[in-house]
Subunit: 267 residues, 2 copies
Amino acid sequence: MAGSELTNLRSPRVKAARRLTKRAFREQDRKFLAEGPQAVREALRLDGVTLELFATAEAEQRHSEIVGEAAARGLPVHRVSGEVMAELSQTVTPQGLLAVCGLVHVPLEEALPAEPRLVAVLAHVRDPGNAGTVLRTADAAGADAVVFTDASVDPYNGKCVRASAGSLFHLPVAIGVPVSEAVRHLRRQGLRVLAADGAGKHTLDDVDLSGPTAWIFGNEAWGLPEEVLAEADDVVRVPIYGQAESLNLATAAAVCLYSSARARRHP
Amino acid sequence: MAGSELTNLRSPRVKAARRLTKRAFREQDRKFLAEGPQAVREALRLDGVTLELFATAEAEQRHSEIVGEAAARGLPVHRVSGEVMAELSQTVTPQGLLAVCGLVHVPLEEALPAEPRLVAVLAHVRDPGNAGTVLRTADAAGADAVVFTDASVDPYNGKCVRASAGSLFHLPVAIGVPVSEAVRHLRRQGLRVLAADGAGKHTLDDVDLSGPTAWIFGNEAWGLPEEVLAEADDVVRVPIYGQAESLNLATAAAVCLYSSARARRHP
């Protein structure tokens, strides 16, 4: 624990962390920010991921077990003023705890176990909150991995990290993969590749989901492009039983992923 | 169509609409705002709900069928400047179309059909975006009605209306009902009342959902209070197959509502 409190917004340490709110600098420095006690706790569970911690005096007290764990591992813990935390934080009401982490994604080839059963692919998801929510849901549904294609949002975006609620640290994530490459690889690994799209011929009620499945999810507004639909083994829609035109992307993904997870357990 | 464009932010008409962004005035005036082409289109499908329309010149052209429909019904359509629309709008990028509507909720007793099959109850949902998403999902899952208890957010909140994507106009919504009153009424109508909570003894995999079901959803952060859990016929959790601590509220609601909807069709 550093004895004195960092109060200078212009200190090199604060500026070095602050620049990680921008994607270009995250890629250059190979680091990102994980904010809030939940994300920091989950980051600390992985060896070598957390590089340093920023904490306000108040958060240090409230989350003493987290800060203590970081200190016990020999990680630098910087006590910062509320003003400095506000500068680093990307939330309206910062929770006083923020970790600088090394990137956690892995190459697609290393993301999957020998016999994968469930994988989520975010093909054109642009909203970081939606992407993080799908990542969290995939984790909850027991997915083996999540793939962010090259046309999707950066999973290290602060909003995505936050919405993932720690799940970014729970399961293998591959990023920047062209969608057709992802489809080919997943199919080679024995997964049936299903595109989730409102234009699907089949509904979730018509398909057998008890086998190994990869789900591809598209854009919030316009779904998946033709070429992705053409590459999938099947295009499947969530049935709409009422008058709604469609479902929110993260909601539709939840229904699909849990349908697969449960069909596999109760075929 | 009014010939001239409203440009004065202080005009009585603009001020009368603008005050509807506040709950107290919505309740006093018995009106609310529905923003964007999707919400306005759905509002217009209901007789007598839309009271007047504000549209920018650009939106009037782009959504001529909606504006034409309003005009054909004899509704006042006010052409407004972009600046006036920005004053009325609650979004960062206004879509140029906004309706003043009369409240659409009904008493709980009138919300349910003779033999209800699926009802969603929002018991302590505070985030309007989440509430609107659950409303949209309930609509998609074919729910008969949605109940907002007295401890939940106002469904006429702009963010909730927007997240509902028109569903506020699709199915009966009851508001301001104490949760125990809602539970009693739903049970009298033949529904089994299930509380969705991470602390549930049973998981979705263990319960038979083929019968008529009412789901109670709680708060984003702390779930449902003890007294609600005690009043329900059963407390059910969505199984977590991976490492995630929990699911996002709207996501969990989607999994529950669709499990019921599908179990009823494929028992």
